[in-house]
């Protein structure tokens, strides 16, 4: 019995050693949010598409709460929380920024906390309904995808 315990312990130590060696060679596990553009709805976009194909030249709208926004957001993003979206969209500065981004050829991308939050869908729809901008997208994976991204992206903290 004692031999069995020693063997099991030896196996555990060996496995842990291999895992540690793999960590040193390969690096930490990939925590990026998986996203395949071709599999998304037309109105959704992967962060990799925004940063790669679109060169990051988009107008960001943050649909999270004000508290979350204050903790950190994407550079240039405006805050339109879903709970006050109607009023925030109609703020003259926001109308101008949303509209002019479209006139200047920037796509507009709305993000919330994760895919599950649903706020970005709602805010994106409300912005589309204004008619100010004709290319409004939802960021797949939301803020979680931004934090997990291996590509460099500027944040306000």
């Amino acid at each position: 019995m004692a031999r069995w315990i020693y063997q099991t312990l030896a196996l555990l130590v060996f496995s842990a050693g291999i895992a540690f060696a793999m960590f040193l060679v390969v690096g930490p596990p990939d925590r990026s949010v998986p996203c395949v553009q071709a599999e998304l709805k037309e109105s959704h976009v992967c962060l990799s598409t925004v940063l790669g194909e679109w060169g990051g030249n988009v107008f960001w709208v943050d649909a999270r709460s004000e508290t979350e926004f204050r903790k950190g957001h994407l550079v240039g993003a405006i805050l339109i929380p879903e709970t006050d979206a109607d009023n925030q969209i109609a703020v003259p500065e926001h109308m101008e920024q949303i509209g002019m981004s479209g006139v200047n050829g920037q796509k507009l991308v709305v993000y919330c906390a994760t895919d599950a939050c649903g706020s970005s869908e709602l805010v994106a729809k409300k912005i589309r309904d204004t008619g100010f901008h004709s290319e409004v997208y939802v960021l797949q994976g939301g803020w979680k995808a931004v934090l997990a991204s291996e590509q460099k992206i500027e944040l306000v903290k």
Partner: protein, 233 residues
């Protein structure tokens, strides 16, 4: 003896890796909220119908407007994982603060069972909430292209409610817009005739109507006006 120990070890490893599953009657619910509802509660009852114990490691509603709760099971620690033995039942409750929401919105509760990775929670409970529009504008927005002829365009405001909702005030964010509000049927239908003073410059404006509704959700109706260059095809 040696092979018996090996077999037992393998069996134990396999048993520890076998994942039980919680069975839900439904993971998607559609709820129609009353016009004056301030919040709604949605229940997702479930049962562990597997032969294995299921541990709910954590759950979350990734929207500040929704609160998720779990009832049933045996808590392993305070605010920590909750264990569900085979045959044991429980219920996830979502409390959704409606605020001034109107229209249809999807809200989710995300549940991580033991063995789930952070990226792939195994349970996703969706509530599709529909809150009626008692007063709405058709269309909600008007567009003129830069340089377009200064022809008036019309927005109709309709009330979809047995009781009247009267428009008592109106204002526009831009002095560059001329408009008139005509009452077609007091409390039920109005007509906005809108003409920009010029279409030479780009403009983004909002025209806001205030109603006599005591429900803040229906206190204002917003319409939007855009003048922008014609989109190149």
């Amino acid at each position: 003896m040696k092979s018996l120990i090996t077999l037992t070890s393998l069996l134990l490893v396999q048993l520890s890796m076998a994942a039980g599953e919680l069975s839900f009657k439904t993971k998607d619910k559609a709820v129609a909220a009353a016009p004056d509802a301030k919040k709604i509660e949605v229940l997702f009852p479930f049962k562990n119908e597997s032969t294995e114990e299921v541990v709910v490691m954590r759950y979350d509603a990734p929207c500040t407007c929704m609160l998720a709760q779990l009832k049933g099971g045996t808590a392993i620690s305070k605010d920590g994982p909750v264990r569900f033995a085979p045959g044991q039942e429980g219920v996830f409750k979502g409390v959704f603060e409606l605020g001034n929401f109107k229209g249809t919105v999807d809200k989710k509760i995300v549940v991580w069972a033991k063995g789930d990775s952070e990226e792939n929670p195994s349970i996703m409970l969706t509530t599709k909430v529909t809150i009626p529009y008692l007063i709405a504008a058709f269309p909600q927005s008007l567009l003129w292209n830069v340089g377009e002829e200064l022809k008036p365009k019309i927005i109709t405001i309709k009330v979809d409610n047995p009781e009247p909702i009267k428009v008592i005030k109106h204002s526009c964010s831009s002095p560059q817009i001329d408009y008139t509000l005509e009452t077609v049927k007091e409390g039920f239908e109005y007509k906005l005739t809108i003409t920009p003073k010029s279409t030479e410059k780009v403009l983004f404006a909002a025209l806001r109507l205030t109603t006599d509704s005591e429900n803040p959700r229906y206190k204002t109706v917003q319409t939007f006006i855009t003048i922008k260059p014609e989109k190149k095809k």
